[in-house]
């Protein structure tokens, strides 16, 4: 039954879009900076999935190549991002984003 469905790239793309949305909503609702950051990873993954799905749909290898770069970016972001979070934690003993509001107005 399920097997009868022809899974076109569109399926993957819709899935990716939902994943992207969940990631962005997660960023908005969570207060823990680490989790917020994980949500960004979800969004990047959604993009990756989109690229790969398009690679398949367009029959073009570029989409897959781009994922490599995304991975590098993600890695670099994680390295720096976590370092920032750690640095802040050292001072404040807390990773809740809402408490970081010295700058406002």
């Amino acid at each position: 039954m399920i097997g009868a469905i022809d899974v076109t790239p569109t399926y993957y793309l819709v899935l990716a879009s939902i994943l992207f949305t969940i990631g962005s909503v997660g960023l908005l609702v969570r207060r823990n900076t680490l989790v917020m950051f994980m949500c960004i990873e979800l969004m990047l993954n959604a993009s990756n999935l989109t690229f790969v799905a398009y690679a398949r749909a367009l029959n073009d290898i570029s989409g897959q190549v781009i994922v490599f770069f995304t991975l590098v970016v993600a890695a670099a972001e994680v390295a720096v991002g976590l370092a920032i979070i750690v640095a802040i934690f050292r001072r404040r003993q807390d990773v809740t984003a809402d408490d970081v509001d010295l700058l406002k107005g």
């Binding site: 960023l27 908005l28 969570r30 207060r31 984003a97 509001d101």
Partner: protein, 646 residues
């Protein structure tokens, strides 16, 4: 040098006093007290001399060519508009210059003594000279605009001289009041000039014959607007309010400006612009009635005044009313005639009053005078001449002038005007009699007690510089009537025939019956004598024993109304100034500050509020910022949805 060459130099006449004024303004302090006065007087005398020369030069021309425009330059020129700085000498302006400079010289001379010891002595003569120059520009101007220059110049000098003793608040206020009230008239004058230019294409007097071709409404509008100017300057109802207050100025000023010359400028303007009044059907009537009513009104007010100068001031208003009455009925020459003789006797009266004030150490209240003829015989004598002249006693100057006006009104068919004039004449005789008796006869009410007053404190006759003008003016008041006697057949109406070229548009009607004229004169004389007799009867001993005024006593409560000039001034203050001030305050505080500036600041406040709002949005929470980003994204996506091809 031909006569025309001489007349081309007419600019000299106003320039002489102008130079005097300039010198005195710049170097007055250095010139010092007596010299400044003498310089000013000399300038006036020279101007008089020049006027006389101009008069004879003009006379030497045939009557129809007695019209000359002097050398000068273009003053204002723009587009099709042009006004020259040139002086017109014709019989009218020549006459005016003669009496302005003549009387002016005498009053300058008088002032030398009168102003003795004043701390701003040179300044006074500077203003006086400036006034004379302005007045001469006014009468000699070859177009309305130049006349307006003089018109405003005399207004300025009037302001400066009324508030000459500006330390006194009343003087300062009076000066301002005079100028502002005059400006109301100027409003009319200016609009009249605009209308004339737009309809006639020029402001030159030589072009005013064109008035004949204007529509009736235009010509009436012009005439009435000019008359508005004249009302302001000549203190006619309802713009008369400034003149009584103007008595705050030094007495020579009152004599020169507020009796003899400046205030008659309105009459001069009407005569100068007579084509408009002639060709208008109704303007003349308006002028005559305003004049008549003012004459009567002012005369009644004069009945109960106690200030020696205020009586004369109201009298001046009244006499000016007569002049307008004359002008209104087309008797322009008669108006000028009265103007001239009025200048003589009213200047005389004012100077006499000044002499009294001088002698009484600045006392102006007639209730504290009396019996002065013993101490000031020359003053008293000349004052009596002035009194009889203004009262219209034969054969003094006033008789002839007033008689001519009343006759013209009568033969014009305006019996009501004539009757009003007659009643006015009676009142005039009465209030002048009252003044003379209060001041020069009766008890010496100025003595506080029976204690003898030190000799130097007693009233005394002024120095010769002051008495000479009195005597001269008294002489003129006596014989002034000679310049125009109503005996056409004998060619004795010199003034009328002299002015004829100017007034060609307004020929005097032939007075048909000499007998009728004689009867009218007799009646007028009778009225004057009645006034004198009644006045003498009431005031022979001055005031009543209890210090009350006999006439006021008989008038009862109405005396108060008269004393306050029918409350016009007060009413104006209360019902016009009050609301106007309130309105102005509303504009400046309510509208300007609150609404307009408030709106401006409101816009600023709006930005500030917006900033505060944005500030609240900027919570400092990173998730909120992300929310804003997502919100923007959604908005963009919504927009994109409207653009996309599905």
């Amino acid at each position: 040098m031909t006569a025309r060459d001489v007349l081309d130099l007419a600019w000299v006449i106003p320039v002489l006093p102008a130079v005097g004024a300039a010198i005195l303004l710049l170097f007055g302090k250095r010139i010092g007290e007596p010299k400044a006065g003498w310089l000013a007087t000399m300038m006036m005398a020279l101007a008089f001399l020049a006027s006389v020369i101009a008069f004879f030069a003009l006379r030497s021309l045939p009557p129809d060519q007695r019209h000359n425009v002097s050398d000068g330059f273009t003053w204002i020129e723009s587009g099709g508009f042009r006004a020259d700085f040139r002086f017109l000498v014709d019989p009218l302006s020549s006459t005016m210059t003669l009496f302005v400079t003549g009387v002016g010289t005498l009053i300058h001379l008088y002032s030398i003594g009168y102003m003795h010891g004043d701390e701003r002595y040179p300044r006074f003569f500077a203003y006086m000279n400036l006034f004379a120059a302005s007045m001469l520009v006014l009468v000699l101007g070859s177009n309305f605009l130049l006349t307006f220059l003089g018109w405003e110049g005399v207004g300025l000098c009037s302001y400066l001289l009324i508030s000459f003793w500006f330390e006194r608040n009343a003087a300062a206020v009076a000066g301002k009041k005079a100028f502002v009230t005059n400006r109301v008239g100027d409003f009319g004058f200016m609009l009249a000039m605009f209308l004339i230019f737009s309809k006639v294409g020029s402001l030159d007097y030589s072009q005013m014959g064109g008035a004949a071709r204007l529509s009736q409404s235009t010509v009436t509008a012009i005439a009435l607007l000019l008359f508005l100017g004249a009302i302001g300057k000549s203190a006619q109802l309802p713009l008369h309010i400034w003149l009584p207050d103007a008595m705050e100025g030094p007495t020579p000023v009152s004599a020169l400006i507020h009796a003899a010359t400046m205030v008659t400028a309105g009459v001069f303007l009407v005569v100068r612009a007579h084509p408009f009044f002639e060709f208008s059907d109704h303007a003349g009537t308006v002028v005559a009635w305003v004049g008549a009513i003012t004459a009567l009104f002012a005369a009644t007010v004069a009945l109960v005044q106690n200030d020696i100068k205020r009586v004369l001031a109201w009298s001046t208003i009244s006499q000016l009313g007569y002049m307008f009455l004359a002008a209104g009925v087309g008797a322009y020459a008669a108006a000028i005639f009265l103007m001239i003789v009025h200048a003589f006797f009213k200047a005389l009266l004012f100077l006499g009053a000044g002499s009294v004030i001088h002698g009484m150490h600045d006392e102006q209240d007639m209730r504290r005078m009396g019996g002065l003829r013993k101490y000031m015989p020359i003053t008293a004598g000349t004052f009596v001449v002035g009194w009889l002249a203004i009262a219209g006693v034969f054969p003094l100057a006033g008789f002839w002038a007033k008689d001519e006006i009343l006759a013209r009104a009568y033969f014009d068919g305006s019996y009501a005007l004539w009757a009003v004039g007659l009643v006015g004449a009676l009142l005039t005789a009465f209030y002048m009699t009252r003044q003379v008796y209060l001041v020069f006869y009766g008890h010496e009410r100025w003595r506080e007690s029976d204690a003898p007053v030190a000799v130097e404190d007693e009233p005394h006759e002024p120095p010769w510089t002051m008495t000479v003008p009195l005597i001269a003016l008294a002489g003129l008041s006596m014989v002034g009537g000679l310049i125009s006697l109503p005996f056409t057949k004998l060619h004795l109406e010199f003034l009328t025939s002299w002015l004829e070229p100017v007034l060609a548009d307004a020929p005097a009607p032939e007075i048909s019956s000499f007998g009728g004229a004689f009867a009218l004169s007799t009646l007028a004389l009778a009225f004057a004598i009645v006034g004198i007799v009644v006045g003498r009867a009431l005031y022979l001993n001055g005031l009543n024993a209890d210090g009350t005024d006999p006439a006021a006593e008989r008038l009862g409560g109405f005396a108060n109304v008269l004393a306050n000039a029918y409350y016009l001034d007060v009413g104006l203050a209360r019902f016009v100034s009050g609301p106007v001030t309130a309105f102005a305050r509303l504009l400046s505080v309510g509208i300007d500050h609150s609404i307009i500036d408030g709106a401006v600041n409101g816009v600023g406040g709006l930005a500030r509020e917006g900033g505060r709002g944005l500030r609240r949005v900027q919570t400092g929470l990173v998730r909120n910022y992300a929310l804003a980003i997502v919100f923007g994204t959604v908005a963009l996506l919504v927009y994109v949805t409207t653009q996309a091809r599905f």
